[in-house]
């Protein structure tokens, strides 16, 4: 008896002792959310947007010029040569594909895990995924040398009736990346339809009205529509989950199925997937922190959201750190002299700076996020995100270029030096990526309004307004059925 009395204070439900932080702060209403988020594309185009897109658009255009220069001149304008036959092209491809993974993780895996905080960031992250995959898809296309023969990748008989080799990892990659892009577009647009309905219903201009009416596909928010919509959304999340894990695994098969030292390892698929999510979340923060500040979205993308993303970066960063150390150990323990040399060469060879950039940016710097104060300071968060962006690029550079430039025989050793075309094609894709993102936030709602509404307390059909409100006259709302 006495015991129950003692334990009575502990009987308070967990939710009351440690209430969950609200996902939308300051008790914002549905109307507020709609007005603020839909108001972004509706407002007059701000000056900073013109200035930024002029800069990024020019950079992107110069990247396109570099691509055409490559196509009309030949791959000799790149620094690739024997023994480094794969260099910036594949590094950039894997870098961009990896960026995309965070968007799908947020939209699919976090949906299945009922992580409701995803609603604030999923739309823009999915858009980021699409743009990153577009940038990625450029590189294999232009690296084939004779780009007019890129259709050899398609599953059709090429001249001589030779079919593609369906058991080649490069062929798997074609299917994986094209499926990934298509599914990401469908998933993104499905989620966008209810919000396009909002844009349609608010549109003032004639052109906007017609455009949004067509894009909204006649959405009316009826439960008979929501019912199938939710099921489609759930199934797409369910099939995107293995898809996103498979895409970067398949990308890693390009290397893991070869017999080159430092590539031929079974750790590659999980290591690539963890790295992809790691790099992708850094890019999400890179894009969303400025957008949040410019558009004053602090009540929707709260500090808790940034905090959680920082924790994911810490987790996945530690996973790739483990992989770096473990592959080093396995190279030692495996007793293959070529494998040992490849890993010593990564950190102590002529391109030691690549290996150490990777290790410092990806493993050491994110450890700052163990400290709460650093997760809640925009400067440190942005600093770590930028380090991770750079570090993940250097990771791919280390894996591909540093492994290749020291061949089996010292007589075949070489060095790799990128040309200005190499560098500006990569910088150009950054320009294209940011330009596409700027267009996205200008014309489409960058936060999934319909999904953010569902995380408000009043979205619960069994919600009753707090006592003071019902006492002041809105009793009729719930009174009849309370």
């Amino acid at each position: 008896m006495a015991e129950t009395q003692v334990s009575a204070p502990n009987m308070v439900p967990f939710e009351e002792r440690m209430p969950r932080p609200p996902l939308v702060e300051n008790n914002r209403s549905m109307a507020w959310i709609t007005d603020v988020i839909a108001g972004i594309p509706e407002a007059k185009t701000p000056l900073w947007w013109y200035i930024t897109i002029a800069i990024t658009g020019s950079i992107g255009a110069f990247g396109v010029f570099c691509i055409f220069y490559l196509l009309f001149t030949g791959v000799g304008v790149w620094g690739n040569n024997i023994p480094v036959g794969w260099a910036f092209g594949i590094t950039n491809f894997v870098f961009w594909i990896g960026i995309g993974h965070a968007g799908t993780l947020i939209s699919a895996i976090l949906h299945l895990c009922r992580q409701k905080w995803r609603t604030a960031i999923n739309r823009s992250s999915e858009a980021m995924t699409l743009f990153a995959v577009m940038c990625a898809a450029i590189f294999p296309g232009i690296h084939v040398g004779r780009v007019w023969m890129a259709w050899f990748l398609a599953p059709v008989p090429v001249p001589n009736w030779i079919w593609p080799n369906f058991r080649s990892p490069l062929m798997w990659d074609v299917f994986a990346v094209s499926t990934y892009f298509t599914v990401s577009v469908l998933f993104w647009f499905l989620g966008l339809v209810p919000d396009l309905g909002t844009m349609r219903d608010r549109a003032k201009s004639k052109v906007g009205k017609v455009a949004y009416t067509i894009l909204a596909l006649g959405w009316r928010g009826g439960n008979r529509q929501w019912r199938h919509w939710e099921m489609a959304y759930l199934v797409l999340a369910g099939i995107s989950t293995p898809l996103v894990l498979s895409v970067h695994s398949t990308v890693s098969f390009d290397f893991a199925t070869s017999i080159l030292p430092a590539w031929h390892t079974t750790i590659f698929p999980p290591y690539f997937v963890a790295g992809a999510i790691f790099g992708g979340f850094a890019m999400v923060l890179t894009l969303l922190i400025p957008a949040r500040s410019i558009y004053k979205l602090h009540d929707v993308i709260t500090w808790n959201h940034i905090d959680v993303m920082c924790k994911i970066i810490l987790l996945t960063g530690s996973m790739v750190g483990y992989a770096y150390v473990m592959e080093f150990f396995v190279a030692y323990y495996g007793a293959n002299p070529y494998e040992r040399f490849a890993f010593l060469n990564r950190y102590f060879g002529p391109m030691w700076w690549g290996g150490w950039c990777m290790f410092t940016c990806n493993v050491v710097v994110p450890q700052l996020f163990w400290v709460r104060a650093f997760r809640r300071n925009l400067i440190t968060v942005y600093f770590v995100a930028m380090c991770v962006n750079a570090g993940m690029w250097f990771e791919r550079f280390s894996i591909f270029v540093i492994a290749l430039h020291r061949d089996f025989l010292p007589s075949s050793w070489g060095m790799y030096y990128p040309t200005w075309v190499d560098i500006w094609t990569f910088v150009g894709t950054i320009g294209i990526f940011v330009t596409l993102f700027l267009l996205f936030i200008r014309f489409l709602p960058m936060i999934a309004m319909s999904e953010v509404r569902t995380v408000l307390p009043e979205a619960d059909p069994h919600y009753h307004p707090p006592q003071p409100i019902s006492a002041t006259g809105s009793e009729g709302i719930t009174g009849a059925h309370a």
Partner: protein, 186 residues
Amino acid sequence: MTAAAAKHQPFAVIAEFGSAAELYHAAEHVRDKGYRFWDVHSPFPIHGMNNAMGLGKSYLGYIIFWGGFTGFTTAVLLEYIPSSFLYPLIVHGKPVDFYTVPAFFPIMFELTILFSAFTAFFGVFILNRQPRYHHPLFTYAPFRRVTRDAFFLVIEAVDPRFSETGTQEFLTGIGGKDVTLIYEND
């Protein structure tokens, strides 16, 4: 208005409700009354509304399964017909037989996903009778707030229990505000 109204058929009766909770309970009343052609409109999917409306789980998932199955079959045929019959290629020393099946898996997996996704995407819009450019509900100006913060319940005129006055009184009785008759537009 009356002249215009006279030549149009009534399409539905619409009523507004104040919150998701109110709409949920109103839906339970309409369901219990036995209406069949009706819907609730809300700015977000309301949890549990399928039960309140007497609708089961969406059957879209079963359709998607067959989409995925088609994708899997397509991949099997796409890979095996060329690799086994049209132009057998022996690469990496791997003949085409039972033991080399795992190397064919990635493409089977990807096409299963791809076809499932297409089925989900087109399936949801076919089941929802979308796309459509116009709808009688769009003529009712307050309905524009349904994609912002308003909740509506609509009972269509095709319902056997529908009557212009009776349905309006019923909706007022269960707490609907601004009960209005909407006409077909043509």
